[in-house]
Symmetry: C2
Subunit: 397 residues, 2 copies
Amino acid sequence: MTDFEKTRSLFYLPEGVIYLDGNSLGPLPLAARERVTRLMTDEWGQLLIKGWNKAGWMTMPRRIGDRVAKLVGAAEGTVVMGDTLSIKVYQALASALELVPERKVVLSDSGNFPSDLYMAQGLIGSLGKGHELKIVEPEEVDAAIDETVAVVMLTEVDYRTGRLHDMKALTEKAHAAGAITVWDLAHTAGALPVDLSGADADLAIGCTYKYLNGGPGAPAFIYVAPRHADKLRPALSGWLGHEQPFAFDLGYRPGSGIDRMRVGTPPIIGLAALDAALDAWDGVDMADLRRQSIKLCDLFVAEVEKRCPMLNLGSPRDGTKRGSQISFLHDEGYAIMQALIARGVIGDFRAPNAIRFGFTPLYIGEAEVLGAVDILEDIMTNRLWDTAEYRQRALVT
Amino acid sequence: MTDFEKTRSLFYLPEGVIYLDGNSLGPLPLAARERVTRLMTDEWGQLLIKGWNKAGWMTMPRRIGDRVAKLVGAAEGTVVMGDTLSIKVYQALASALELVPERKVVLSDSGNFPSDLYMAQGLIGSLGKGHELKIVEPEEVDAAIDETVAVVMLTEVDYRTGRLHDMKALTEKAHAAGAITVWDLAHTAGALPVDLSGADADLAIGCTYKYLNGGPGAPAFIYVAPRHADKLRPALSGWLGHEQPFAFDLGYRPGSGIDRMRVGTPPIIGLAALDAALDAWDGVDMADLRRQSIKLCDLFVAEVEKRCPMLNLGSPRDGTKRGSQISFLHDEGYAIMQALIARGVIGDFRAPNAIRFGFTPLYIGEAEVLGAVDILEDIMTNRLWDTAEYRQRALVT
């Protein structure tokens, strides 16, 4: 059994706060703070440029990629870190489209994170080859996969509702239709068991600042199935994806396998924080995590529905059909979330009307769930959200 | 007069080291270490997700962009931070090409940093519209600018030789021919005065881990001239470049001006380190810096030529024609540099035969220059480099 008391002790959690937003930004792992201090002082400070070799900076994207691979059911040597998730979407989609050059449809759904859709739109605009981004409702994806589709590009867990796609079934359907899949694991990695190998996924991407607790703006990752890795042409063909970066040739020659998905000089401070953050997963059984996550989510849903009838569930009721987050819908969702935050219950708001709560067994237990519902009930019953102050929108929601 | 004793006190410089590689990775600014500790503890740790608003994380790319703008002669609101330099090359070139859709030539030179060339090759491969990357010798760029050229894409200071292009003259020539310019300032920003506005440059990009001391893999920057900023179509159209990122619309609408060059979630820890590192520039007069840089470089050249006649100067002799670095050429350059590093003189090696030294007046003075030459003379005169150990290549050179 996973020891969640132990994992909890690895994080800094401020006094008086119930943090239900680890699906947006994980809290500070104590080890990350230490690791970054060591990086600044002993590595950058002392080793200077020699850190690239002596502190292993240059190999961090692959080494940490292997650690992430274990959490998403990928083999060693199939994941590499770098850039932002948006860039990784572009990189994955650009290469994927070239695997199916005769087809023009990128199929996605309205539950995909908007930036994924925007990056696809930007790429399609640059290519100017008549590609079309077809956006259907999440429930219609399966039926929309046909032999016109080049790439099925989906986020496995819907950022707004938590609805979980069936990666294995949709990948199978896509392959039967001759399409390539690009899976965004932003709300999946570290939230539930993922089996990229078992699902036979083609490409996958994800971020590490949510359930993987890598810190604000932590580096993203990309997975390429071994069968494609040496065939893909990298659109973002940077020097660190070159076969011999330090030969400084004038012509690009892709490195072998996943290495060619590296682009520029990696963000070492961010990678160091992430590396230490991943220590929290040592000894965590993903099946235990999933069981506990569903238990916490179910408890939250049951209590809120009982005590706050004016809120409507915006997530699937069946725990196996969703990620590790719960949304409730209310027209005044923004103000309600501000009132919650003022009382120390931190979730977030997603336009137009969802208040969103993440449940992260590594550091959240039943006591926090019940404590959060107590405060939510007070706010809803007594309309404490109903002030001009709480309706005032901030830049980031 | 700039107080270089004061600026020097702002950096951590290890005992027994003469650091002549600030052109590759600047040393640790003490303020960066403090700032990152504060970020980890007081912001990420205490504020959690609220840091995006309350600690101003979301606006850092623009705020820090404005600080960098001052160092490269750009107006407020024309520079934004993010991604790696390679990604910024791609982003700049993709948008630039669309400004001149009827032309197909990207003109660059063999002194450009290879990753810039690789990214152009990758983009051209994706577009599949018959674009050509034309690579000429640095001295031939001027003559090669004609009315077939869509974009002149150059690194102002040659990473290997330090040769400095005449940005103003080449930009003028490019404009007369109807071409757009993309200037890479990797070896310029913080090394010498730059005047993007005065040179009428179209787009520029650069990194911040060299002369700007932002740390290993620090975020890059992009500049867009105000006349283009609202016209460019962003190829890398991520959510943070959207007009309203938190509206979560399904369709991309570019933000106004330089904002549309933002892509994904910014790397906050790296940005915090950079922000603090830039404090070192408060009170620095770039003309003083340039004068001191030329003085140090000239001294180094004169002493090395006098005392190490077996080394051939690989940089322009005229200080006004080069950046803030000096290369000497020798077939055994790699081993020579290893011998130097073993004796505490840190420069680097660039294939095939250049040993490269950066001169950074913020923290390097005449004493270091003379001390480095003493050791170099000993190594050369007594062939101390001539061992199997020093010929053994590391991953990063």
